[in-house]
Amino acid sequence: MKITVNGTAHLVDVEDDMPLLWVLRDELKIKGPKYGCGMALCRACTVHIDGEAVPSCSIPVKQAENRNITTIEGLGTPVAHHIVQQAWIEQQVAQCGYCQSGQIMTAAAFLEKNPRPTDAEIDEAMSPNLCRCGTYSRIRAAVKSAAAKMAER
């Protein structure tokens, strides 16, 4: 089966029902998306499929075939940050950082659709992503500052 991740097409020989997360991590060695719960409860595994933020642990790879998959590696790089990543760096959001790939991917897809969110909309959009370290105050601040920058674009 052929899947396209961050603009690159890959041929993978896996079961149709293998979750996208494990194709990315163990077959393609793309480690940005993280395993946290395997049940769409924590969203550490969030990637974009055609711009939509989805929990890759709960998406059978077959459903992602012929669609554009973006992982955090495709959003920006350590030298060329995405606006959302830049905000995450400026606000120094991360503690352990394990949830943050997912947080950033959720925020990026959300702000793409809703660049001028209210506080309540931010809370709603970001609540599916669990952070055991409790960085929520900074996540809110980073989403707001990214929104402000995206509005300037």
Binding site: G32, E73, W88, A94, Y98, S101
Partner: protein, 759 residues
Amino acid sequence: MNSSTETEAQKPASKSKLRTFGRRAFLVGSIAVAGGVAFGYYVVRKPHDNPLLDDLGADEATFNPWVKISPTTITLITPHVDLGQGVASMQAALIAEELDLELGQFTTASGKPSPAYYNTAMANDTVPFRSTDHGFEAEAMRGVMGAAVKVMGMQSTGGSSSTADSFDKLRAAGAVARETLKQAASNRTQIPVARLRTAAGAVILPNGSKIPYTDLAKEAAKIPAVTQVTLRPPSQWRLIGKPMERLDIVAKSTGTQIYGIDVDFEDMLYAAVKVSPRIGAGLVRYDASAAKQMRGVKRILDIPNGVAVIADNTWRAFQAANAIIFEWAASKAPEQAEHWKEVGRSFTEERLDKEWRNDGDVAQAMKQEKIVSAEYRAPYVAHQPLEPLNAVIRVTGDRVDIWTSHQAPGVAQQKIAEVTGLPVEGVRLHNQYAGGSFGHRLEFDYIILAAEIGRQMKNKTIKLTFSREEDFVHDYPRQISMARPRGSVKNGRVESYDLPIAAVSAARSYTKRLGMPVPGPDLMLAAGAWDMPYNIPNFRVTAYAVPEIVPTSSWRSVGASTSGFFADAFLDELIHAAGADPMAERLRLVNDISARRVLEAVAKMSKWGSALGPNRGRGVAMVTAFGVPVAEVIEVLATPEGVKIEKVYVAAEVGRIVDPVNFENHVQGAVVWGLGHAMNCEITYSNGQIQQENYHAHEAMRLHQCPEIIVQGLENGGEIKGIGEPPVPPAAPALANAIFAATGKRIREMPFNKHIAFV
């Protein structure tokens, strides 16, 4: 336990040529171990070996276990494992401060497990003196424990001890390296040391020209380290106390940080395990015939009390493990309701662990007619950091390599040696960044299982990943605990307070698993309660030890997370019974200057006493844990759908703050942790098995429930203290007290959502 008191001079010279130069290792003991009069002190004053000497290149220099300079690179060793607290950055900044390095001029490494990286600060809180007590006896006892920890070589991370352990030690390490490099430059140029300066990774000559440290490595390696150093006064600090960009922040914002779970090798295989989920009950039989046929499955291994599946992909290993049909033996562990009964039965003379304080005449006071009394409960809760437990292992010949994250790597190596039957010297633990811990990575099950898999799969590299469900059911939760406080009031004041607490001992459970039980009462049973800094005329705190029902473990803030809740929330009840103001009465009673300062600070921050509006309430709580008093004021709004936590004001006295941004982030995180678990988490047992298997059943706080958290750190000098845990304990009582203020409902049991809804 590794134990090494061998000195440099005793080492065989053949191992490394550099050793023959007789470089004196840095005498850290004189700085870090307080109370030098303690028995046995001279033994530990001999420094541990510098582990960096083991694989030092011919042109590299090391001055102590924390600094290594090669012709190209400066490496700073940050031995406290980074579990998310930013301690790697903090440790590097302390060295760089004195060594005159700019951030970006060095790399960091975790260093291999070594007695040289012992943690003295952790021992400070294992002796039963108030952490704020600096009396002679207390200092001497800390010295004994510090000495013991050094002899055991406990390079551990926990008890919010990393900053305290590092503060003097690492600055001194930087200063020693700096002065030795200056000496090397002086030898080369014949310019006296007094006329040399250092800045930005170079020695600067009087004429302004620079010799980079990396250029001096070879010469510096040949001279004895300069050990007479003076640390710089705070007024000269460039890095400490200023916001700094965490060294890992870019990696953690771009998905490029490598955690243990991301470690990868060519031809690596993947393992999943299923171990009996029932406490103390093994595996009777299993049927893996279906699993064996599944795609990608390489081997099914028998392991103690369970089975490991080796496959070519983590998911395939998980799927195959789930396809195995198991018959587990029955567990003798009682049903949850029985646990509570057992705790309730423990307020007896026979189970008395220690009467921690008894001021005035409590017995007499309790004979009065009007006594306020209550029962408080705190359940088991799970650690469950977001990165599940994992380890990559490879056993070849008599060598074991393991890539994992562990809070006590030296002990982990010992365990691996035991399981594999190989000498501990052959075990290399490569400590990795962790996706959180909260006490979870103090345990050894995943290390032992990985070692067992490695033993059976020699010459293969295997990554063991726990499924979230496996991780949950094998979590060793926080202690279960109960209090039956009583008290009385008189003339609008709190007059007597009797606080008996019964809890299982997580510390005893852990040390028993480690095979090194510690005698004496468990300080943690009444932590955050017995040392409440209040002058209550009749005041007694008694701890009762409940015999172990199921194994438990240290959970972020340990004993104070439960006892601090009981102690402060019931004090609030007494204050209300007296008709006094919760803030004013605490301030009237408080007898410790730091505790007073944090209370005054939150009173000011929250504008205590100002009108809040209808359906709103304010609660205050103050708990001292690990020597750090933290006061919190919480404001809640009662809505028809439930309670909304709107604001939390926090003030903490930590002596000195290394990085204000990281400080604020961690205080906020600790408040979220304390609130989230108090609101909606508990672990319960049925058939000897934990019933909560994923986050839906143990959710803690999500973003929409997170209040605004306003933080103030007080820095009144003195000892430096860590902040990872102390803001946890006051969160629950401040919330309970605020809910009472807003609704008149007193909540005495965690999780609070058993009694009230939250929005």
